[in-house]
């Protein structure tokens, strides 16, 4: 039994040609002149309990919109969502008790109050029994080292500290699913690592199902077992990360330092993906052309100072998928 099932899910936004001011807004609402944006377009997937899934896509691909429908914030234009047997926007209250949500861009904590006050308020809002609350608070403050700033007002926390508090806030009521929309945005390397470590642990020890969106593919590589890629509202990849590498990682990258900046570079069976001064990046498919053939071509035509061949990085694979689509 999947914990989340999404079938033919779509969300279309009507975007009215903007006019300013109240009457402008009203008249453009009434006049119904609009464009339709298919933010999410016929999306299907399902998640098993305990999965840890990365949901990625370029800016505006539809990640946040999907999360908002899953959490019950937005009503879908069409399609079905089943989360633990509930339809999130219809059974919103029951659904919210069983999920945790973190928006990396916006804190859910009380801005001017000490961190601990927010936790206390959430205890009442979610009706968390006192002993469970104490137990969880201890668990999370130990794991995320919250103790030093529990009585600091949220507005004075650093981004990393705030994110740790937001994670705690989302998990105090023992949710079965945790939705994270860009939980590592703006964090430094160490803080990011801490968040990743935390998510792995929460997933492993508490069997929390986790969906996270991100632009940092290290998050995905280090945290997730499964990857869903959305592009222009449509899912273009859904599967394991190793599979992705196997399927799309046939491309090797040859990084070459030329002796001079040649104005046009022409090679067969090779893509020039980047150039920076004398350095060029050449992508080629190892099934159609071998590295030695590429190098032979190069040395025949240009003067070379140095070269390295790199294994495909997930980052590079995904960048190519964003740019060129799947094939």
């Amino acid at each position: 039994m999947p914990i989340i099932t999404v079938e033919h899910l779509s969300k279309h936004f009507k975007v009215y040609r903007r006019r300013t001011g109240f009457w402008g807004n009203l008249s453009s609402t009434v006049s119904r002149k609009h464009d339709i944006i298919k933010a999410v377009d016929d999306v299907n997937f399902s998640l098993e309990r305990g999965e840890l899934v990365g949901y990625i896509g370029a800016n505006g691909a539809g990640k946040s919109t999907t999360i908002k429908m899953l959490t019950g914030i937005l009503v879908p234009t069409s399609g079905h969502i089943d989360v633990m047997g509930l339809t999130p926007y219809r059974q919103r209250k029951e659904n919210t008790r069983r999920i945790g949500v973190v928006f990396g861009q916006r804190t859910q904590l009380w801005w001017d109050l000490p961190v601990i006050d927010s936790f206390e308020l959430l205890k009442h809002i979610y009706e968390i029994p006192q002993n469970l609350y104490k137990q969880n608070l201890e668990f999370f403050s130990e794991m995320l080292q919250l103790q030093p700033f529990l009585s600091t007002p949220v507005r004075r926390l650093s981004l990393g500290q705030r994110m740790r508090c937001d994670l705690t806030a989302a998990l105090l009521h023992n949710p079965e699913i945790l939705y994270l929309d860009e939980p590592t945005i703006g964090l430094d390397v160490v803080a990011k690592e801490q968040v990743r470590q935390f998510l792995r642990q929460v997933n492993a020890e508490r069997q929390v199902t986790v969906i996270l969106t991100t632009h940092d593919l290290n998050d995905v590589e280090k945290v997730c077992q499964r990857l869903i890629i959305i592009d222009n509202g449509k899912i273009i990849y859904d599967g394991g990360i190793d599979d992705l590498k196997k399927r799309y990682g046939k491309t090797r990258m040859l990084i070459v330092d030329l002796a001079q900046a040649y104005s046009d570079i022409q090679l067969e069976g090779v893509d020039l993906t980047r150039r920076d001064g004398n350095r060029i990046w050449l992508a080629f498919d190892r099934d159609t052309i071998s590295a030695s053939e590429v190098i032979a071509q190069l040395t025949a035509r240009y003067e070379i100072q140095d070269l390295t061949i790199s294994e495909p990085e997930i980052e590079e694979i995904v960048r190519r998928i964003y740019e060129l689509g799947v094939h």
Binding site: A39, G60, V75, R92, K93, V101, H124
Partner: protein
């Protein structure tokens, strides 16, 4: 269940008050300002009435009573519903997202979340004004009168609140509603202060059937002051306030719910 919500209301309201506590001086000044302006308004009304003696056959004591009653409903409504004043910011900034992921009714959460204490100072002033107005009006104080007055105040508060809720909900379609809310609220407050007999028929119908603020003061006052001035409307209207309040509550809540389903959040 009810206890849980009452407790939650005070916890959330308390949290907001505590976060505002650091601006103690401006809080004090604002309370002071509100009290002064309330008294000035009443003084102005008194001076005007003293000059004309009667308004359309209403003595000045009766008009002051009307004003006091309307003002009381208004000030209670402000405590209950002022959080809807700038409801559009929940939409413009997508803050409604955070409300919708909590296991409480969104409207309850919004109403509980940003209760401004300064409105309490206005309410206290209004109570004082009403007590004086009640005394001046010469109404005999019996249990029936007391119950009727309380019901009237409660219904009036709810009627004004529902108008506030409806105008705030408009923001779910138009994104902005702040100005509409301000306009509607000040207009309704003015409309409760005078007998509606001073207005032309069209306005009277509007204030009875569309924005039913005539049920906040005018019709109940017919009963309390024994005026018997119905302007061709059924006499039953003097007892109509609770019914109107209930109907308005249902209508505005349904409108609110349909608005929520329209909520589009923001594109990050």
């Amino acid at each position: 269940m009810v206890r849980r919500y009452i407790k939650l209301y005070f916890l959330l309201a308390g949290a907001y008050v505590r976060s505002r506590l650091q601006y103690r001086l401006s809080f004090g000044l604002m309370c002071f300002g509100i009290v002064i302006s309330e008294i000035c308004l009443l003084g102005l009304l008194g001076a005007l009435l003293a000059k004309f003696r009667t308004v359309n056959g209403w003595t000045w004591a009766e008009v002051v009573f009307l004003y006091g009653l309307g003002n009381l409903a208004y000030s209670f409504m402000r405590i209950l519903g002022s959080q809807l004043d700038d409801f559009d910011r929940y939409i413009i900034r997508g803050e409604l997202d955070g409300v919708l992921i909590k296991p409480v009714p969104p409207l309850f959460y919004i109403l509980a979340n940003r209760v401004e204490l300064i409105h309490v100072s206005r309410a206290l002033t209004s109570v004082a004004i009403f007590v004086v107005a009640f005394h001046l009006s010469g109404i005999r104080w019996t249990l029936d009168v007391a119950l009727f007055t309380l019901t009237t105040i409660l219904s009036g508060t709810l009627i004004m609140f529902t108008l506030m809720l409806i105008s705030a909900t408009v923001a779910l379609w138009t994104t902005k509603s702040g100005k509409l809310t301000d306009l509607l609220i000040s207009a309704t407050k003015e409309a409760t202060a005078f007998p509606i007999s001073i207005y032309p028929l069209a306005v009277r119908l509007l204030l009875t059937f569309v924005l039913p603020v005539a049920f906040v003061t005018y019709y109940p006052a017919q009963q309390l002051l024994q005026k018997g001035e119905f302007l061709g409307m059924p006499e039953l209207f003097q007892f109509g306030a609770p019914v109107v309040a209930l109907v308005m509550l249902c209508v505005s809540y349904l409108f609110w719910c349909s608005g929520l389903r329209r909520y589009h959040s923001t594109g990050s």
